[in-house]
């Protein structure tokens, strides 16, 4: 199967048909759900929190966040995905936005951030006036500022290769995050990579510290 990242930009790839296919696939739902649970476990939030969901898509992760009594705000670049989220009557607020353009929230807004299967898209540059490096640094700098001191972000993503994995983690560290990498089922086809990021001191790093 080809990687969607290699075919079209996300706003075009996730058209109405793909968005619905993605959302109604029980296999994708189950994987998405278990990864969101894992993100929450790694965040270990003390109570109902305000969470940014980056690449929220049709709100599959948001449903899990709801079930824990959290309030979430989701960003996604695909109008079709957000359309499905509307139809599914998710409770989170939705924003049509490109994470590579930054995070349009004031400093210290969120308790935490989660992202499931999205940030590898930052390594794509769709037009000649943007670069993956520029998009990555705008994203991580914006994310760093928007999370409160002592807060955390857990980003599950699918790097295409080691170089991409390095590029993404390096951009996070450069933006000021403390960073750890955790891999579930390493070496198998179910391997899942989680970048665990902390803002300021006092955060508890899970996995291997890479800073």
């Amino acid at each position: 199967m080809s990687r969607p990242e290699d075919t079209l930009p996300p706003d075009l790839f996730y058209n109405d048909t793909e968005a619905l296919k993605y959302t109604t696939s029980s296999r994708i739902q189950a994987i998405q759900s278990s990864m969101t649970h894992r993100c929450l476990e790694l965040l270990s939030l003390p109570g109902p929190s305000l969470i940014l969901d980056i690449g929220c898509g049709s709100g599959l992760s948001g449903e899990i966040l709801d079930s824990y009594n959290h309030t979430w705000i989701g960003m996604d670049i695909s109008p079709s995905m957000l359309g499905v989220a509307l139809d599914r009557e998710t409770t989170g607020d939705l924003l049509l936005a490109d994470m590579g353009q930054g995070i349009p929230f004031r400093a210290g807004s969120f308790d935490a951030a989660v992202s499931v299967s999205a940030v590898q898209w930052l390594c794509n540059a769709e037009t000649s006036d943007v670069t993956p490096q520029g998009r990555l640094s705008r994203f991580f700098e914006g994310l760093y500022a928007s999370i409160k001191r002592g807060g955390k972000a857990v980003l599950q993503f699918y790097p295409k290769n080691d170089a991409q994995r390095q590029m993404i983690t390096a951009a996070a560290v450069k933006a000021g995050f403390g960073a750890g990498m955790l891999e579930d089922d390493p070496g198998t086809k179910n391997a899942k990579l989680y970048l665990v990021l902390t803002v300021g001191s006092g955060g508890d790093l899970s996995g291997r510290d890479i800073t």
Binding site: P48, L50, T71, D93, A97, P104, S109, T127
Partner: protein, 123 residues
């Protein structure tokens, strides 16, 4: 879009970073709706310290809510909690625009979703 969210949103245009006039964004032609949600007191208590009260008062006034206390409440009695829940969580802007007070950029809101996609030269 919940009023809560508008208290955290800032203009995304590059030249508006750390410009005081770029927050809060101002509503234009806002159509409101109310969606009943279960009261979550722990959540309200958690976010209250991070609510920018002067900005919230300004937003509320622009939308026609004039009963908001002028100061952030120190103690949340039952009524204050309910009022805050109604304003922050249940009141939604479904259609309209959010306008930056610094650069004038207008973010469209359709079906409750604000469009924050910018042309690349503004990022």
């Amino acid at each position: 879009m919940k009023i809560l969210t508008t208290n955290y949103l800032a203009c995304a245009v590059k030249t508006c970073k750390s410009e005081p006039a770029a927050f809060p964004l101002h509503f234009k032609d806002a159509e409101l709706a109310r969606e009943e949600l279960e009261l979550n007191p722990e959540f309200i208590k958690n976010v209250l310290p991070r609510i920018d009260w002067p900005a919230l008062a300004q937003t509320a006034a622009e939308l026609g809510f004039t009963t908001l206390p002028s100061q952030k409440p120190e103690n949340l009695d039952e009524q204050t909690m309910k009022d805050l829940h109604t304003l922050l969580m249940e009141t939604q802007v479904m259609e309209g625009k959010l306008v930056c007070g610094n650069c004038g950029y207008e973010y469209n809101i359709k079906e409750g979703i604000a469009n924050f996609l910018l042309p690349n030269h503004l990022v």
